[in-house]
Structures are given as structure tokens and as C-alpha cells.
């Protein structure tokens, strides 16, 4: 993926897939179809990572979001009784707040694009030299040295969530 025109085509195709399926996620009435399109969205994001030479992130994205998060969501939908035939109503009536939230988000993204693409300014450091071929090694070392504290905090957080889920499930059973 070194040829810029090639990356361009792939980028536009992937972006279209991501955006169309993201709209489908929030607009379809059948919740299972929403989940399927969510999986498609997340896979598209993994594709974007591949075009950016971040293969490890792409694989992690698919493993965690598609393999674990989305599968659990689908699992939850399947365990919910009497949801198969029901067409879900759009219960959210707060259109004004939603538009406001979207605007704030869009402005934030635009601001970020502006400050990162400013010629020569380099507010955010971007790589000037080509990425190392084996970036998995670098990521691993960084996670175990410089970013070991956030890494461990995340593990503890996940452990706490897991214990919480077990406690909730047990209380329901008794």
C-alpha cells in the first residue's frame, strides 16, 4: 500500500462502506440487522487501519470488536425473548439535542483536521520517516515499558467490570 492513488481508492471505498453501514446501524428497525451492520462498520475501520500500515491495530480491532464485543451483543439479542418479530420503534424524540451533539462533534473533528494539517506547524507530531516493518515488536515494547501504567489500569478496570457482571448475575439467580 505505498502507491498513493491506490490508497486513495481503497480509502474512499472503505469510507463509503463505513458510513453507509453506520447509518444503517441507527436507522434500521430490526435490531439484529443493526448488529450485523455494526460488525460491517467495525470491519471497515479495520480496513482503514490496514491502509495506514497499522496491521496490528487492524487485527486487534477485528479480534476485540468483531470477535468479542459484537458477538456478545448478538448473543444478548438472541437471549432476549420475543425480540425476533418485533420492529423496534425509534423512541428517541430529542432531535434537538442530537443535532447539537452532532454539530459539536463535527466541529471538534474539523478543528483537529485543521490543526494537524497546517503546513509545517506540527502541533501534533506526525511520522516523518517510514514506519518500521515490524511495528508489533515496537507496540509490545512500548506497552510493557512506557505505557505500562495505563495498560495495567485497563486490565484492572476490565477485571472490575467482570466481577461486577458476575455479582449482578448471581444476585438475580438467588
Amino acid at each position: 500500500m505505498t502507491d498513493p492513488s491506490e490508497v486513495g481508492i481503497v480509502f474512499w471505498v472503505l469510507s463509503t462502506v463505513i458510513l453507509v453501514s453506520a447509518v444503517m446501524v441507527v436507522s434500521l428497525r430490526n435490531i439484529f440487522h443493526c448488529a450485523i451492520f455494526l460488525i460491517l462498520t467495525l470491519t471497515g475501520v479495520a480496513g482503514i487501519f490496514v491502509t495506514l500500515n497499522a496491521e496490528f491495530l487492524a487485527a486487534a480491532q477485528v479480534l476485540i470488536y468483531v470477535g468479542a464485543v459484537a458477538t456478545l451483543m448478538v448473543f444478548g439479542i438472541m437471549l432476549t425473548s420475543d425480540i425476533a418479530s418485533r420492529r423496534i420503534e425509534m423512541t428517541n424524540q430529542k432531535a434537538g439535542v442530537a443535532v447539537l451533539a452532532c454539530m459539536v462533534f463535527a466541529l471538534g473533528v474539523l478543528f483537529l483536521i485543521k490543526i494537524t494539517t497546517k503546513a509545517g506547524a506540527g502541533v501534533w507530531q506526525t511520522a516523518t520517516e517510514p514506519l518500521p516493518a515490524d511495528n508489533v515488536l515496537t507496540i509490545g515494547k512500548q506497552l510493557m515499558t512506557e505505557f505500562v501504567l495505563p495498560f495495567e489500569v485497563v486490565s484492572v478496570l476490565l477485571l472490575a467490570a467482570m466481577i461486577g457482571a458476575i455479582v449482578l448475575a448471581r444476585r438475580e439467580a438467588s
Partner: protein, 353 residues
């Protein structure tokens, strides 16, 4: 004789063919597209044929384990039985049930079939005989095989049938549970190989005693736990509760017929070959071996593992759902993690190469 055999490397044929293509003077984009297309079609053909062979072999193994012959009528020992079956399935009526969820019902077998093929991008069939040596090799394979779970869930839901739904849910629960010990066993190998690339993993076990299965004491443990988890991942007995015939009629594929059923069926056998090929690459030295060409070594070792998994299927009784989960979480997960810690400690202390 050995020298003649050694020279039969398949990769030489590809190099020769690519050389011919490059000499034609086409634009590089066309050369790339044609070579990718040829490789894709070849992979599809080889894997489809392989799946048909495995179906036939499975029936023969099952027959002989149960003291009968298996298919015998079509050709020598029924060799073209599965080819005839495939042609029959192709022209069978595609029964379209009314209550199904059309979109999900249609795409589930397609996704299952495609996901089964994706892993073969970075499985080394022989020395240099690999489509793309990704530097995240084994991680990529683990990632794309998760799509199979999604496909089975889609099939279970889309059929709108309680047996199919149970089959889909069981398969998801099983796949999520057994992925943990599977990844932990694979990590044991990765610690010593120092790379996720499949080619690097094979090259790091370049003699018989360097094979990861021979590295005492963690190698054999990791191999056994991997094989157990892989049997569960491939949905085969004794872990075949997603399609337990006596409980769920046929599980997630109950409503499928004709070509759609054939896609699930072939995908299942391709997945069987995939998990065996990973086992060979990680633990049994991949294509390494004396005298014979590398691709033949890979094929022989992989078929050996396939035979082992087939013997499991026809000689062990099926587990109950709760036993299956208990076995994964209360036995396999602790064992694989203890093994992983042991391997990491030995590596850190330099007790092992």
C-alpha cells in the same frame, strides 16, 4: 532418488509461470492483477478439492472405526462418492422457507464460506510457498476466523427456528470460551519464536528437537491444549454441541438445503484443515523435513493431524453443554495460563533456547 524428490518444489513452478507472465510486457498493474487472480482461483480450487477429499476420508475413517466399509460403490473404495454428492447438491432445490429473515439467511453461508478461505492468505504450504507473509500472521488468522462465529450466529438467527437458534448460540458460547485457551497455547510458541509471522515461526524450529512439541516441558502441554481447543473451535465431536444431531436435529444449518448447505459443509472441512495446518506450523515444524519436498512434508503432517481429529470424532462421546463450559473455564484456561507463565519464566531466566 531423494535429490530428485527434493527438486520437486511447487514454488519453482510458480516462479517459472510468473517469469513467463512478466516477459509478456504487460503493464505492471495487469501482471499484479493476473497473478493475484490465478493464485486466488488456484487456492479456491485446491481447497475445494481438499474439502471433498476430507469428506470422503472422514466417511471412510468413520466406517472403519465402526467396523464397516464406508462408501464403496462409486469407483475404487468409493473415491468419487463426494464428487457425485457435490454435483447432486449443486442441482438440488434451494428450499426457501417463509419465516426466515431473508437478508441474514442468505448472507450467513456466504460469510461462513469466505471466512474459511481468508486464513489461507498466510499459511505456509511449503518453503516460500505462502500467499503473503504478513508480519501479524497468526494474529491475522485468529482475527479472520472469528467471522465464522458471526456466520453461525447469523445462520441460527436467520433460520427463525428454535433448534437453529440454540445451535448458533451454543457455537458462539463455545467459540468464545475455547478461544482463550487456544490463544494462550499459541502465545507459548510466540514467546520462543519472537515473531507473529508464520514463516518466522517455522524457521525458528529448524531441527527435530527444535520443534515446539519437543521443547520440554511446556511444548507438549501447549500442543495438547491447542489440539483440544482447536477441536472445539472446529465444532467437531466431542465438542460438536452446536450441531448435536440427537439434541438439535442438525443445529444451526437445519433449515439450509442445496448449495447453501454445501457451503456450510465445505467450510466446516476447510476449517478442520485450517486448525490442523496451524498446529503443524506452530508445533510440528511446518514444512521442515528431510528428503521430501517441503510442500509434501507440510501436507503429510497436516493430514496426520486431520486423521487424529477424525479419530477423536469417531471414538469419543459428546460432552454436555455445561460440562463443555466447565472444562474450558475450570480446567483448560488455568492449565494454559500456568503453562504460559512457565514458558515465559524459562525464557526470561535463559533456561531454554
Amino acid at each position: 532418488m531423494p535429490l530428485v524428490l527434493m527438486s520437486l518444489e511447487l514454488i519453482e513452478i510458480f516462479r517459472w509461470a510468473y517469469g513467463l507472465l512478466a516477459e509478456l510486457g504487460l503493464p505492471p498493474v495487469w501482471v499484479m492483477l493476473i497473478s493475484y487472480g490465478v493464485i486466488g482461483v488456484l487456492m479456491f480450487g485446491v481447497l475445494a478439492l481438499l474439502a471433498l477429499f476430507l469428506v470422503w476420508w472422514e466417511r471412510k475413517v468413520a466406517g472403519h472405526v465402526q467396523q464397516r466399509f464406508g462408501p464403496m460403490r462409486n469407483g475404487w473404495h468409493g473415491w468419487y462418492q463426494t464428487i457425485a454428492d457435490a454435483i447432486k447438491l449443486l442441482q438440488k432445490e434451494d428450499v426457501d422457507i417463509i419465516a426466515r429473515d431473508k437478508f441474514v439467511f442468505f448472507w450467513a453461508p456466504v460469510l461462513c464460506f469466505v471466512a474459511a478461505f481468508l486464513a489461507y492468505i498466510c499459511i505456509p504450504f511449503g518453503k516460500d510457498l505462502i500467499v503473503a507473509d504478513l508480519n501479524i500472521g497468526i494474529l491475522y488468522i485468529m482475527a479472520v476466523t472469528t467471522f465464522t462465529v458471526i456466520a453461525l450466529l447469523m445462520a441460527g438467527w436467520g433460520s427463525n427456528n428454535k433448534y437453529a437458534l440454540f445451535g448458533g448460540m451454543r457455537s458462539a458460547a463455545q467459540a468464545i470460551s475455547y478461544e482463550v485457551p487456544m490463544v494462550a497455547s499459541i502465545l507459548t510458541v510466540i514467546i520462543y519464536a519472537g515473531s507473529l509471522s508464520m514463516v518466522d515461526i517455522v524457521q525458528s524450529q529448524n531441527s527435530f528437537f527444535g520443534w515446539f512439541i519437543c521443547r520440554m516441558p511446556f511444548g507438549p502441554i501447549a500442543f495438547v491444549t491447542y489440539i483440544i481447543a482447536a477441536t472445539a473451535e472446529a465444532n467437531r465431536a466431542p465438542f460438536d454441541i452446536p450441531e448435536a444431531e440427537q439434541e438439535l436435529v442438525a443445529g444451526f444449518n437445519i433449515e439450509y438445503s442445496g448449495m447453501k448447505f454445501a457451503m456450510f459443509f465445505l467450510a466446516e472441512f476447510i476449517n478442520l484443515f485450517t486448525v490442523s495446518a496451524i498446529a503443524v506450523t506452530l508445533f510440528l515444524g511446518g514444512w521442515e523435513g528431510p528428503w521430501l519436498p517441503s510442500w509434501l512434508w507440510f501436507l503429510l503432517k497436516t493430514l496426520g493431524i486431520v486423521f487424529l481429529l477424525m479419530m477423536f470424532r469417531w471414538t469419543y462421546p459428546r460432552l454436555r453443554v455445561d460440562q463443555l463450559m466447565e472444562f474450558a473455564w475450570k480446567f483448560l484456561v488455568p492449565v494454559t495460563f500456568a503453562n504460559l507463565i512457565l514458558a515465559a519464566t524459562m525464557k526470561y531466566l535463559g533456561w531454554y533456547w
